[in-house]
Every structure is written in C-alpha cells, then in structure tokens.
C-alpha cells in the first residue's frame, strides 16, 4: 500500500475487542493511531463511524469506517497480506471462521455471565462455560496456537480467555479455567500472553484488575458487557 496510509482504531484500553484489532495490525506491522473512546461519552467520530451499533472497535482506513471486530480482522488480513492470520486453503479458512464464531457465541458470553451471577443461575452459566471450554480445549489439543506455529484468527478471537477472563475470575472470586480441567487452554494462555506482539498490545494487568474491581457493583447491576 503506497502513500501516507491513514489507519486509526477507535478503541478502549479495557476492551478485548479493540485489542484484537490492534494485535492484528501489530502482527502485520501496520502503523496506526489509537483513539481512546470514553464509552460513557462517545465521540462524534465514533457515532458517525458506527451509527447503527455505536460501539468500538472501529477501524478507520483512509476514511473508510469498518466496525465489528471479526469483520475488521478479515478486512485487515485482506488489505495487508503479509503475516496472514487466516489460513490459505478454503477448508482450513472455514474451520478458522467456525471456531472464531464458536468462541464468540458459546464461550465469551457464558464465561462473562459466570462472573456476575449467583446461585443456580451462576451454576448454569458455569456449566455452559465448562462445556464450551472443554470443546475448545479438545480442539486445541497439543498445538502451540490454534493457528499452528503462529498466532492466527482463532487465537486472536480467543484473547478474552487470556488476560481478561483471568482478571474477571479474580474479581468475581471464581475459578473456571484451571490446569486440571483445561490443560491445553492453560498452556495456550501462557504462550499467548508471553508472545512479543501480544505483550506489547495488552493493557497492564494491575490497572485492568483495579478498574474491574471499581466497576464491579455497576456490572453486577446490569451484567452488561458495555462497561
């Protein structure tokens, strides 16, 4: 891509979804500007760039606005073709897309709700989360990353399970992802957060922890993932 590329990410330092976008850009060595959004007071730029959902992340590339983290990842991979995050062959690509969707649909929500509910409801969510994590753990198997030797689409999609869910479990006082039940996932988490590109993009753990501690009551009231 020639000339002065304008790449901006409308993001929040707290959000694993905007982290996904920033990680993909980092893996491809694409220089970009991070525009921090106050989600309680959304900027005119955000509202204009994503009028339907009004959510981060949004990728702005030479004036074009692309919302939705999963869609942004595919756009990034198609636009900057070095260090691909999706496999080449159609079947492997479809598997990567399938597992990304699985993580979004079946893992993240159940894990989140496990943290903020109690009693029977919490048990139900924890069971759902466990069942999904088991499937994911089996799928990963002995591999270093879901993408094989290097981070791919599914690894990026699973980022919530790494730093964020670790912090949330601590705030909520629960322990779901443990080495006994999910040895492969635990190994993956260690490897993932230790990767250079990931380390450079992750928010500081202590700040994340402190912020979620302070927001705990607010989240308990709404259970909303928009915090």
């Amino acid at each position: 891509m020639a000339e002065a590329e304008q790449v901006k990410v409308l993001r929040s330092w707290l959000s694993p979804w905007s982290f996904k976008v920033e990680l993909a850009l980092k893996l491809k060595g694409v220089p970009h500007e991070k525009v921090e959004e106050d989600l309680a007071n959304k900027s005119p730029l955000l509202l204009a760039s994503n009028p339907i959902h009004k959510k981060i992340p949004v990728l702005l590339h030479n004036g074009k606005a692309i919302p939705e983290s999963g869609i942004i990842l595919e756009y990034i991979d198609e636009t900057w073709t070095n260090n691909p995050i999706l496999p080449k062959a159609p079947y492997e690509r479809s598997m990567a897309r399938f597992w990304s969707r699985f993580i979004d649909d079946k893992c993240v929500g159940a894990c989140w709700m496990s943290c903020w509910t109690e009693g029977e409801t919490q048990q139900m969510f924890m069971e759902q989360a466990r069942a999904s994590l088991r499937i994911l753990d089996d799928e990963l198997g002995e591999r270093k990353f879901f993408g094989g030797e290097s981070i791919g689409l599914v690894d990026i999609s699973a980022c919530f399970l790494s730093l964020w869910f670790g912090v949330l479990q601590e705030v909520a006082g629960i322990s779901l992802i443990n080495g006994e039940e999910f040895p492969n996932l635990c190994r993956w988490i260690e490897g993932f957060v230790a990767t250079d590109a990931v380390t450079e993009c992750l928010p500081p753990r202590d700040e994340l922890l402190a912020t979620f501690q302070s927001k705990k009551q607010a989240i308990l009231a709404t259970k909303s993932m928009v915090y």
């Binding site: 692309i66 999963g70 869609i71 595919e74 756009y75 198609e78 079947y91 690509r93």
Partner: protein, 235 residues
C-alpha cells in the same frame, strides 16, 4: 456429484443460503433433507456442536454455519457459474459481512418475534422493529447497489444471498399477520430488489414459493405456541 452434499431443507432460510450459493455456482450436489422435528444421525455426527442445519459436506468433510458455508463455496469454486459471490474489494466485503451480521443478529429475530408474539401489542412492537430494520437495509441497498440491480451492483453478491434468503419469508409473514412489511411505498428500493432477486435465473430455480413458506411458518407457529404453553406449565 456425490462429492458435495448438503444437509437441510430449503424451507430453512439458512439452508437456502447454501442452496442459493450452489445454484449461483452451478455446482451439483445431493440434498439430504432433514425431517422437521427430527435430527438424523448424519447431522448429529457432522455438526456435533450445534446439531443444526445447514451442513455442507465436501470431500467427506463437514462445514457448518451458513455464512461460513457460503464463503467456503465462493472460495472453492471462485469462477464457476455466475462468478464471485463475495465482492472484489476488501471494504465492500466488510460492508456485506456487516449487514449480514445485522440481519442475523438484529433483524431476523424481530421477524421471528412477529410469529412468536402472544399479544397484539407484542406483535405490533415486533412489526415496528422489522420495519425499522428494513429502513436501514433500504439505505444500505441504495448505498451498495449504486443505482444498479443488486447489493452487489450488477451481480448477485454475498448480501443478496444472505438477506435474499428471507424474501419469501417476509411475504409469508405479511400474509400470516396481515401487515405490509416490504412495501413499495416505504422501502421502494428494497421492494424492487426483492422482485429482481426472485426472478434471477439461479434464484427462481431453487427458492421455495411463499405459499410453501407460509405453510411451514404455520407449523412453526403452532410449535412455538406449544413450547410457550409447556414452559408456562413448568413455572
């Protein structure tokens, strides 16, 4: 080609997406119809996680989830039949995927809510949400079509398939509850698109007519009513 099999029924709009894509590509396949209310062993084996149709089986390997299937079909048979389904440039691909996600996440559930509504208020609310969604899709169509026939411009493209699978569902819903949804006055561009989409050579061959869909919708509605009554009994 027994090499390509599709598990599902054309009465499911999600299965219809895969059927439309295969029709556009002129790829031969075997349709393995599932009986409504039952799940075959092959389905349970091929899609153990979701246990849902559609499932495409190619070279004995299953692919699940309608959007994943359509993108797979486009990538395996890029030049066949009517050519590419995904738009050529990355930004338009993103837009087609964005609106597909909107249709699946927000719009279609509101259409289903019309059928599930137990009171007149609930029905009216659902109808309003469907109409509001159609207005957004109207705007999207005007922007993406650039004055041409389809969301893909001159050609039927991804969003045409992913949203077009619902056109006869909309007609059936309109008949079921006696309301206008995709009418010429409020959504003229979409109205015109729906007519052209149905008439497309690859579409009219495979799309179940709204009469069949209405029949199926009535069966579904009865099932939803029964499920809701059973759930109430449990409380």
């Amino acid at each position: 080609m027994a090499d390509v099999k599709l598990i599902g029924s054309p009465l499911s709009p999600y299965v219809l997406r895969a059927i439309l894509a295969l029709s556009l590509k002129k790829v031969e396949y075997e349709l393995l119809e599932e009986k409504f209310g039952e799940k075959s062993e092959l389905l349970l084996k091929s899609n153990p996680i979701y246990k849902k149709i559609p499932v495409l089986i190619h070279h004995d390997r299953p692919i699940c989830e309608s959007a994943v299937i359509v993108e797979y079909i486009d990538e395996v048979w890029p030049e066949s039949g009517f050519g590419a389904i995904l738009p050529a440039d990355a930004y338009h691909r993103a837009l087609h995927r964005f609106w597909t996600y909107y249709v699946d996440d927000k719009w279609f559930p509101s259409l289903v809510a019309i059928g599930k509504a137990e009171t007149e208020e609930a029905k009216a609310e659902a109808v309003e949400r469907v109409r509001a969604g159609l207005l957004l899709l109207e705007e999207a169509f005007v922007k993406l079509s650039e004055g041409k026939a389809f969301f893909g411009g001159d050609r039927v493209a991804f969003l045409d398939v992913m949203f077009g699978c619902f056109v006869n569902w909309i007609v059936a819903a309109e008949e079921l509850v006696s309301v206008e949804l995709l009418d010429e006055a409020t959504v003229p561009a979409l109205h015109g698109w729906a007519v052209r989409f149905r008439e497309h050579e690859a579409v009219k061959e495979v799309m179940p007519d709204s009469g069949r869909v209405l029949g199926f919708l009535k069966i579904l509605q009865a099932k939803w009513k029964a499920d809701a009554a059973a759930a109430k009994k449990k409380l």
